[in-house]
Symmetry: C2
Subunit: 286 residues, 2 copies
């Protein structure tokens, strides 16, 4: 039999004739918005592998400010992805833990485990994270709320979080991680979320795993080396990657969510979708 795409993909409508309207969930041209160059963190790994992270500048401003200073100081250059834990996270930064932070980079940052308000453009229609409700912001971030005044970004697969010690303020942004397996809701509200890997995620998710239990790679030679991490705005216009996100504050995105929560027949609805299952599309700017 044919190597089978999950049924959802197989049953996408064939290319429509030019006079038919596009499927309700597909983006319109005006739905694509530029991601500012200073919200793109470009991580080059050994072997000409590039990972691009979109920074949640408005939702985690203190950490993103620190991250921008770290990038400007070239802090990650020569560092490594020192931890790859199966069905958990890839984590990168200074494996020796000895390097002093550059001047101007705060060692202690306000926790930013939550965001100011739960104001998504689209809500998941089913109670998604259990006692929490969830949705997608107008500019394409996954958020949840407990309905009692707390709201937060969710640590979905490929979201970028801030590693820290026990003190809630101890995450400077110098060490970052991303879930590479089943995303776990117990990370939410415990670690700051600063962004999302929007390109090159496979360069992290397919790394050889470190040994159990925590996947920390003890030998420098086994760690994927970071060549450089640079803010897009610090690169020349010719060099910097240009990406757009898909805006969520429109009926097409609403249809996308409904479709994910209730896949069309013959797929059998099996109880909705997690906020982390909503595709947050980006594309190279045309």
């Amino acid at each position: 039999m044919t190597p089978l795409a999950p049924l959802f993909l197989l049953l996408q409508a064939p290319a429509a004739p030019t006079t038919a309207p596009p499927p309700a969930h597909e983006p319109a041209s005006q739905d694509w918005r530029d991601i500012p160059a200073n919200e793109l963190l470009v991580m080059r790994l050994a072997g000409d592998r590039t990972v691009v992270i979109r920074l949640a500048a408005a939702l985690a401003p203190a950490h993103v400010a620190n991250i921008r200073r770290l990038a400007a100081a070239g802090w990650w250059n020569g560092e490594s992805v020192y931890r790859v834990q199966e069905n958990w996270v890839a984590q990168w930064g200074d494996a020796t833990e000895k390097k002093p932070l550059p001047r101007g980079v705060a060692a202690s940052v306000t926790p930013e485990f939550e965001i100011a308000a739960f104001a998504p453009a689209q809500r998941m229609t089913r109670a998604d994270t259990h006692s929490a409700t969830a949705g997608i912001t107008a500019d394409g971030w996954p958020v949840a709320s407990d309905g009692q005044g707390h709201a937060w970004l969710t640590h979905c697969y490929s979201m970028v979080g801030v590693a820290r010690d026990e003190a809630p303020t101890s995450g400077s942004g110098a060490e970052l991680f991303t879930p590479i397996g089943q995303s776990a809701r117990r990370l939410d509200r415990n670690y700051a979320v600063v962004g999302r890997v929007i390109s090159g995620m496979e360069h992290l998710s397919a790394l050889p795993r470190g040994p159990a239990p925590m996947g920390v790679l003890p030998e420098a030679a086994t760690r994927m080396r970071i060549v450089s991490v640079t803010l897009g705005s610090a690169m020349s216009p010719a060099e910097r990657p240009r990406f757009q996100y898909r805006a969520a504050d429109n009926p097409r995105f609403a249809a996308l969510i409904r479709r994910r929560e209730n896949p069309p027949a013959p797929t059998i609805g099996s109880g909705g979708a997690d906020v982390c299952e909503v595709p947050l599309e980006v594309r190279r700017a045309p």
Copy 2:
């Protein structure tokens, strides 16, 4: 700072003195049960990598019967992992789709997308899959139900599903897949679940991804080769791996689930846990 384990791991209690009771969620010695040798599928990949799959023999009997016949016929020997799609699945079998099935292996199998009844030993206390309820069976399988007579195994990360064509009966079990990223509830009730990877998952999850959109690897040289797939009971007693699962029908497993749904302080409860977040522990038989 120290490469940080997620807080939950860091805050595990230190080794208890001999007179203190063990934490309520830890297994007792009697909680470990042998997995029968004919419920272990041992897949050897090139480079001396071994993947062990526990077969859900009672919950998908028709497919498991076919899979046992396929293994006995050496059907997968020399085949490959021909599809690795980022944040979706790894899939393996006959990439050419031309090899005839062995005698005695049914090309058409009753769908087995659902199980006979929703009878978990432990339920998730929070509405987990939205309109569905979820739990873990006594022998450690993740299940869900819509409360209207339908019950099914959930396609969590590392669960093994049956690839098929459009006809619901077209999945013989000759082509299998496992989620290697965010698990998606829209697979549930659409593809049969036949088991779970209990050892060596990293040999699948860390494979280089195939090209977008579906991750199918076009070149034979780029596909991870399957040396052999053998049922544990067909191996000599000295060779066969021996594994045990952790039984769920006891208060210790109940405590494990509650702990996952409500991680202990200072972790902030963020709304429960998905059924796919419940650890389904196995160990090498002592």
